[in-house]
């Protein structure tokens, strides 16, 4: 190949040798930097910790409703949405934060909306027929053609979907292609083919080995045996030794579960690749559905009909079945109040449910801490090798990379954007990582994120207008070996009327479909109980 003029003049850009990488921006880099405005926002850990530590004043008043839902994450909102649809309208949703949405929360500034947590949903799997109605309701699925759903083009992820930064350059796709050996390539191929075959693999019971929702999966013992070893060990046993392949899979596990591939259950690891078998009439099978505000779109839509019935800033600290109704006490920041209901759905993570109702306690539920930063940029990130994509992954980085909020806007070249940086804190045990993270100041986080960003994007020095950081102390359930098909989770699935539970961590994997399904199921159980 002939070198192009640009290559001849500039080199390929992997001139990351010494100063070369920052060369055109030396002045930008050395001039005194104004601190970037912003702060640590969200996830009210102070109030949350009160639940662990504190005594609360006695309630000053009381009220009565048919159903109380504790927590307005996707599971809680889904339960409320379905109860409402079923005609059970006297509902209150109590939410600790000042907004609904939980992990699907999103933000907004004058440039764009942007996600704070969950940011996409894959095409609905073959077991997710029950979610189709919702998607039709919300205009996400607009019709059907050739027996397949037609998805709204505005929400189908635009091309280019992902790019990977390695050796000073970007490449399309997430599997390293530059400088990998023929053996690596062969292993990629074999691995991907095996994942494809897992996608359609069914047990004797006719169910897929890896289904979404996970409880629709086959009970096949060979499938469940995969839950007893780690993903890394499974790969090695299956003859996958390629370093870049391990890097890719480890990235996938950290991205989806916040757990490294040498810790996570192989069943969960494979589930990430094999669970999503969705198809659409108007896009490719591995496509996903996304919005500038991420799954905040879904949270808002679910919360809309509940307006007035969601009580924000309501920390539930006591739930008690008196026999004549369930008492729910909450603290609104100033005073405590009491509500009584015929049924309660606890839609909080299990470690909180366990504090509210001690029998629900289970030490097997462990959680991965994450940090998310939203950065407002006065110019688009550049980079040689491949155009800016939706998901921009930096190889071997502690943080995963960033997602571009304006990617779905069909505008040719937005001049400003917001990028969402994701960082699962997997370098330490969850407890230690949480402790380290809580001790950090905004300035510490700024330094960490910016050094990461500027290493890859020196051209952005001086163009970060704002930055906010969100610490999710207990972001996601960790599917450690033995958890998904173990006793703790099986026990957690049992409902004990009049107190019901619904949360994605009851699935052992933290995704929209699971949260939504648990909410739907809880609403059905509540309805049956009330009738």
């Amino acid at each position: 190949m002939k070198p192009t003029r640009r290559q001849l003049l500039y080199g390929s850009g992997s001139a990351a040798i010494g100063m070369a990488a920052i060369s055109p921006f030396v002045w930008d880099a050395i001039k005194p930097q104004k601190p970037i405005p912003g702060g640590i926002v969200g996830a009210n850990s102070a109030r949350g910790h009160r639940l662990r530590d504190g005594a609360f004043p006695a309630p000053i008043d009381s009220g009565k409703h048919d159903v109380i839902i504790v927590g307005s994450g996707i599971a809680g909102l889904s339960a409320a949405y379905h109860l409402d649809k079923a005609g059970i309208r006297d509902i209150r949703v109590l939410e600790l934060e000042d907004h609904a949405g939980g992990n699907a929360h999103s933000g907004k500034n004058d440039v764009s909306t942007y996600p704070w947590g969950a940011h996409y949903v894959p095409l609905l799997s073959s077991e997710s027929g029950h979610i189709k109605d919702l998607f039709r309701d919300f205009g996400i699925i607009t019709g059907e053609a050739d027996g397949l759903p037609v998805y709204n083009e505005d929400y189908i992820l635009n091309d280019p979907d992902e790019r990977l930064f390695l050796d000073g350059r970007w490449q399309e796709g997430l599997l390293p292609t530059l400088g990998v050996s023929a053996e690596d390539q062969a292993q990629y191929k074999r691995f991907l083919a095996q994942m494809e075959s897992f996608k359609v693999k069914r047990g004797d019971d006719g169910r897929r080995w890896f289904a979404i929702p996970i409880d629709e999966s086959s009970t096949d013992t060979d499938a469940r045996a995969l839950d007893r070893l780690t993903m890394k060990d499974w790969m090695l046993a299956a003859g996958y030794t390629s370093e870049p392949l391990h890097g890719f899979v480890n990235y996938g596990c950290r991205d989806d579960f916040g757990v490294r591939h040498d810790e996570i259950s192989a069943y969960a690891g494979i589930h990430y690749f094999a669970g999503r078998d969705g198809k659409a009439a108007n896009t490719k099978p591995d496509s996903v559905i996304t919005w500038p505000e991420g799954n905040g779109f879904l949270a808002h839509k679910l919360a809309e009909p509940m307006a007035g019935r969601i009580l924000p800033n309501a920390l539930v600290y006591n739930i008690n079945d008196t026999g004549a109704g369930v008492v729910v006490d909450y603290w609104d920041g100033q005073v405590s109040r009491r509500l009584t209901a015929r049924a309660v759905v606890i839609a909080t993570p299990r470690f909180i449910a366990g504090r509210l109702v001690p029998p629900l306690k289970s030490p097997d539920f462990t959680y991965a801490p994450w940090v998310v930063a939203n950065l407002t940029l006065n110019r688009l990130p550049g980079g040689a090798g491949a155009d800016l994509a939706w998901d921009n992954v930096i190889k071997d980085s502690p943080a995963l990379g960033y997602v571009v909020a304006t990617h779905q806007v069909p505008q040719m070249q937005p001049l400003r954007t917001v990028i969402t940086y994701y960082w699962p804190l997997t370098h330490l045990s969850p407890a230690e990582a949480r402790k380290e993270a809580i001790a950090r100041t905004y300035e510490d986080w700024q330094k960490l994120f910016l050094s990461e960003l500027y290493r890859v994007h020196p051209e952005l020095v001086g163009h970060v207008a704002h930055m906010d950081v969100w610490l999710w102390g207990h972001a996601m359930i960790r599917p450690m070996p033995g958890f998904i098909w173990g006793e703790a989770r099986e026990g957690a699935l049992k409902q004990a009327p009049p107190i019901f539970t619904a949360h994605s961590d009851m699935s052992g994997i933290s995704i929209f479909e699971e949260a939504y399904t648990h909410g739907l199921k809880a609403s059905q159980a509540v309805k049956a109980f009330l009738a």
């Binding site: 001849l8 080199g11 100063m19 070369a20 060369s23 055109p24 635009n158 091309d159 280019p160």
Partner: protein
């Protein structure tokens, strides 16, 4: 000390060959005809080395100090040679003279190095050992350089940065000698200061290589750059060579005034002449006002809406006298309404009261990246439907069906997938090549047989011929360009990268 000097031999040999390779590459790159350029550069360089060797005999005293001075000088001249040559390529009357002059200077300086070193070392080794060692290191250095150059330097650092880097190595040899030598050196302080200054110059050059490159970039245009401006959206450059005015956006040629009439007549008239009294016209892109010039040749036209992203474009082409002459001041037409907006967003948010345009001209840059690719997608063409009536026509400039056959037919097939009937055609525009267009319509399109008077390119015969494709450019099946799968961008990249070296 001896060992140090032998290491210097290795370094200077590497540097020497690198400068030669840089000059050769640069010359063949800038001037073309690489065989001639390389052989004359090598010849000149070797001959200059000969002069240097010969001249070295004239130096008698203070050999070491002299050697240090030579190193500093080689570092300065060799190190900055690539930057100087790139920057001055278009500025000096005789670039060749400058090129060979610099090559000769470097050659002479490099030619002096080895003989002087041999003489410095002559008392420390036996003659046979001396010659054997020095030349061994010399040749190893050369081999090292010749492998390093194509594999590491050109692809990763680029020529300008490489040359500064090796200049720095030369000066480092000088500094090393200055600081490690025990024996007194006359004017040692002055030498150190000089080496320090040159070191700073080279380091600054190294650090600013990208800036220098982008300065030099304007020199890649044929003709003199008479206007250059970076807007938030693109880099606009206008060049002039004799009477040829050219517009480049992000270094891609948009038109040459020599033959733009061919491009624009072919873009406009097959659509305009096919319509009965077209009144309401939309132009997307085309901020240069040249398509508009052709459109205004139809008296029935009442309103023209021009949507161009970049206000700097429409401003430039409506203010510069030279460009106003070229577009016949079309941008000042009272019929024109300019909207500086993103065409996709504008169409999407037009609201319920959508105007219907009789003719739409889409004159956008080629689909070379994912951003512009959105304006070639089914989603965008779907929006076009909403502003077209049953008899409306739209035409899309669609890159070259000869060079980029898949890309061209991908545009055509994407329009079909978006529910249009299509009529593809092509015209020869020398500055571009054999260029393609696609007409999109809701009813079958017939090529008009009558055209306005005074056209230079289009008449009934030319127009008819434009619609037939020889076998090497004929229709092929392609993927469809969709927002979630931009096949066209991959086609375009693949096809043009085979063809273009820039």
């Amino acid at each position: 000390m001896q060992r140090l000097l032998l290491v210097s031999v290795f370094v200077i040999a590497t540097c020497g060959l690198i400068y030669e390779l840089i000059a050769g590459t640069l010359a063949s790159y800038l001037l073309g005809d690489s065989i001639t350029q390389f052989s004359t550069i090598i010849g000149t360089y070797l001959f200059a080395m000969g002069i240097g060797s010969w001249a070295s005999a004239k130096v008698d005293k203070n050999l070491l100090a002299f050697f240090v001075r030579i190193e500093i000088l080689v570092g300065l001249v060799g190190g900055s040679s690539a930057a100087i040559l790139f920057l001055l390529f278009d500025q000096v009357a005789s670039f060749r003279f400058l090129l060979y002059f610099i090559v000769t200077v470097i050659g002479i300086l490099v030619g002096i190095e080895i003989p002087i070193l041999l003489r410095i070392l002559k008392d420390r080794y036996e003659f046979k050992d001396l010659v054997s060692r020095v030349f061994t290191f010399d040749y190893i250095g050369a081999l090292f350089a010749s492998i390093l150059f194509p594999l590491v330097l050109v692809p990763h650092l680029g020529l300008i940065r490489s040359s500064f880097m090796f200049g720095i190595f030369n000066v480092m040899v000088a500094l090393w000698l200055l600081y490690s030598i025990k024996e007194p050196l006359p004017w040692a302080r002055l030498h150190k200061i000089a080496a320090g200054i040159v070191m700073i110059i080279l380091t600054l050059g190294f650090i600013s290589s990208d800036k220098i490159s982008s300065l030099a970039e304007s020199n890649s245009f044929a003709g003199h750059v008479i206007f250059a401006k970076s807007t938030p959206y693109q880099r606009i450059v206008i060049t002039r060579q004799q009477s040829d005015i050219r517009l480049y956006l992000n270094s891609n040629l948009q038109f040459s005034s020599q033959d733009e009439y061919r491009y624009h007549e072919a873009l406009v008239h097959p659509v305009m002449s096919a319509l009965q009294a077209p009144r309401n016209i939309l132009i997307i892109g085309g901020g240069d006002g040249l398509a508009l010039r052709e459109i205004l040749k139809y008296p029935s036209v009442a309103h023209v809406t021009l949507v161009d992203l970049d206000p700097a474009m429409t401003k430039l082409f409506s203010s510069s006298p030279m460009l106003r002459k070229l577009n016949q001041d079309s941008l000042h037409s009272p019929k024109l309404k300019v909207i500086n907006a993103d065409a996709f967003m504008w169409l999407k948010h037009l609201g319920a009261n959508r105007p219907i345009f009789d003719a739409i001209f889409i004159d956008l840059p080629d689909p070379s990246n994912f951003s512009i690719g959105k304006l070639y997608s089914t989603a965008f063409y779907g929006l076009l439907h909403t502003v077209m009536g049953p008899d409306s026509l739209a035409v899309i400039q669609s890159t070259s069906p000869l060079v980029a056959r898949k890309s061209f037919w991908c545009v055509n097939n994407t329009l079909r997938a978006s529910g249009f009937q299509t009529s593809p055609y092509h015209a020869l525009v020398p500055a571009f090549g054999d260029w393609g267009y696609v007409i999109a319509s809701n009813r079958p399109y017939t090529v008009p047989t009558r055209y306005p008077a005074g056209l230079r390119f289009i008449d009934a015969d030319t127009a008819r011929d434009m619609f037939s494709f020889p076998p090497d450019m004929g229709p092929i099946a392609t993927k469809i360009q969709r927002l979630d799968d931009q096949a066209l961008i991959h086609y375009f990249d693949e096809e043009w990268s085979k063809y273009l070296i820039y």
